[in-house]
């Protein structure tokens, strides 16, 4: 069963102050409505993972790890590798986390991150096949939330993307007997684009990017959009309120531009060059 979100008492008391600031184009932490918090990305800190990335977005911290294995392909995609995204809210991430299997928020988080990556075609899954119909790579992306201060959706997406871009997986080829064998080399994932997730919260009549925990506690609703270089590839509205169609259209248009800015930040964080140099060989 999905149940209504709890109300946060202190945040609601501070809402009046927040609304006063928003009317002046300011926020409680000093940002403008369309500013993101500082984004920092570090990669490859977990040597036993094929790929890993830790992202700080203000005080929100997440770490994503990539592991791979050889598996059978899904029946409806015999000639493509498998992508599996999972997310966990670790109990150390906030005083309010309860232990247990992933709740609806963790499941939504994983599925929205998955959608942004999958639908953008970021990883060319058709190149992750050892033997069509029988053996393909499964790419597991596991996201751990380490510290919660709002906008987990974007932070997790950036971490997952960074971990995938920098992942190095063991190379397999078909041996003479037709069974997969390791070559001893590593390969990079076939990356075609960098999808960028942009989240806006609506509070009253204002739309603000990258909401903090405090802002999320009083928001009416939220919209998460994933963009490729050419357009939009995934959407998820959240929260128990609504957006007018005009608000959504304006937001999507503006966010497409914002995504270019964030994509440059991610590329710089990953030590990638300018536009057009994304393509990396598969080595296969």
């Amino acid at each position: 069963m999905s149940i209504s979100r709890k109300n946060f008492v202190v945040e609601r008391l501070r809402k009046e102050k927040l609304m006063e600031l928003l009317a002046k184009g300011q926020r409680l932490d000093g940002r403008g409505l369309r500013d993101y918090r500082p984004l920092s990305i570090s990669t490859q800190m977990v040597s036993k993972a094929e790929g890993s990335a830790q992202v700080y977005l203000g005080n929100t911290a997440v770490i994503a790890g990539v592991k791979t294995s050889l598996d059978r392909p899904y029946r409806d995609t015999p000639d493509r590798g498998n992508l599996i995204v999972n997310a966990e809210f670790l109990p150390l991430a906030s005083p309010y986390i309860e232990l247990g299997p992933p709740n609806e928020n963790a499941i939504e988080l994983a599925r929205v991150v998955d959608r942004g990556i999958r639908e953008s075609g970021m990883v060319d899954m058709s190149k992750l096949v050892v033997k069509a119909g029988e053996t393909v790579y499964s790419i597991f992306v596991d996201i751990n939330v380490l510290n919660i201060d709002g906008n987990l959706l974007d932070a997790s997406s950036y971490a997952a993307v960074a971990a995938l871009v920098t992942a190095k997986l063991p190379e397999y080829v078909l041996s003479d007997g037709g069974t997969p064998a390791r070559t001893g080399n590593t390969i990079q994932l076939p990356i075609t684009t960098i999808p960028v997730s942009i989240t806006a919260a609506k509070i009253g009549e204002y739309a603000l990017y990258d909401p903090t925990e405090e802002e999320e506690a009083v928001m009416d609703t939220r919209l998460t959009m994933a963009f490729t270089e050419d357009g939009i590839c995934a959407l998820q509205k959240g929260g128990s309120g609504g957006w007018s169609p005009a608000e959504v259209m304006k937001l999507v248009e503006e966010s497409f531009e914002k995504a270019k800015e964030i994509r440059e930040q991610i590329r710089r964080g990953l030590g990638l060059g300018g536009q057009g140099e994304t393509d990396q060989g598969t080595g296969s």
Binding site: S2, S4, N7, E104, L235, G241
Partner: protein
């Protein structure tokens, strides 16, 4: 032309690009529920039931200033080609959440502090666009239960198949099409309460797709009103 739209511009089920599938809405067929509704939309067959407002169990979930809304979207094991296990999947858990949020936007939750409301949606047969049809039915069930609302919520999906925008995807179009975008809308308030998308669209295509979805929602909204009217004024007395 691709395989999902033929030379005459007809879709796999014979519809034009901007046509909804045939639909049927019924109100109040479950006697135990405080409100209920049934929808057929293409091959979708979905029952929705509402219980409440009632006491909150367990009590620590009580919200002191508003109603607690609970929602369960569930697919029957026999509703799909290959039997689905009855345990809720990750997909069903996410859909339960987005349906709840889509409906909550319409309910006057502040009028009922310390109470709970259960919304149950059971998909008996599934076709493309089951979450949209579920919302359309559940909103009707809420109205049937007499829950005070700001507006009713109607929902349907738009998509892109063979490079063309189409309204209300069927199963094949959902699986093989390029884009699926479910939208829920409250026409009187001009508010979108569910918006999801997967697949690639340019910003301009997105705007056109959203406008098309809203037109579909408005048609279904009229059908919801008619179903309510028929239930209360035209149904034979028992």
């Amino acid at each position: 032309m691709g395989k999902l739209i033929d030379e005459q511009g007809k879709r796999t089920d014979g519809r034009g690009p901007y046509d909804l599938r045939p639909y049927k809405l019924e109100v109040g067929m479950l006697k135990n529920a405080d409100g209920s509704a049934y929808i057929e939309m293409g091959k979708n067959k979905i029952v929705a039931a509402v219980y409440g407002p009632k006491e909150v169990h367990p009590r620590h979930l009580v919200l002191p200033d508003r109603m607690l809304v609970k929602c369960r979207y569930h697919m029957s094991p026999f509703s799909v080609e290959e039997r689905k296990t009855p345990a809720p999947s990750r997909r069903e858990i996410e859909i339960s959440k987005v349906i709840r949020e889509a409906l909550e936007a319409s309910i006057l939750v502040d009028e009922f502090p310390r109470t709970a409301l259960d919304v149950f949606v059971e998909v008996l047969e599934s076709d493309g666009g089951s979450r949209g049809a579920s919302i359309t039915a559940a909103s009707l069930a809420l109205a049937n239960a007499g829950i005070p609302m700001k507006d009713m919520v109607a929902a349907c999906a738009v998509g892109k198949v063979d490079g063309q925008l189409v309204l209300d995807l069927n199963d094949v179009e959902d699986k093989e099409g390029e884009v699926d975008m479910p939208v829920a809308y409250m026409p009187n308030l001009d508010e979108i309460t569910l918006l999801q998308m997967d697949g690639k669209l340019t910003v301009e295509e997105f705007k056109a797709a959203l406008n098309l979805a809203l037109k579909g929602c408005i048609q279904l909204y009229e059908a919801q009103k008619k179903a309510l009217y028929d239930h209360y004024f035209n149904s034979p007395k028992e």
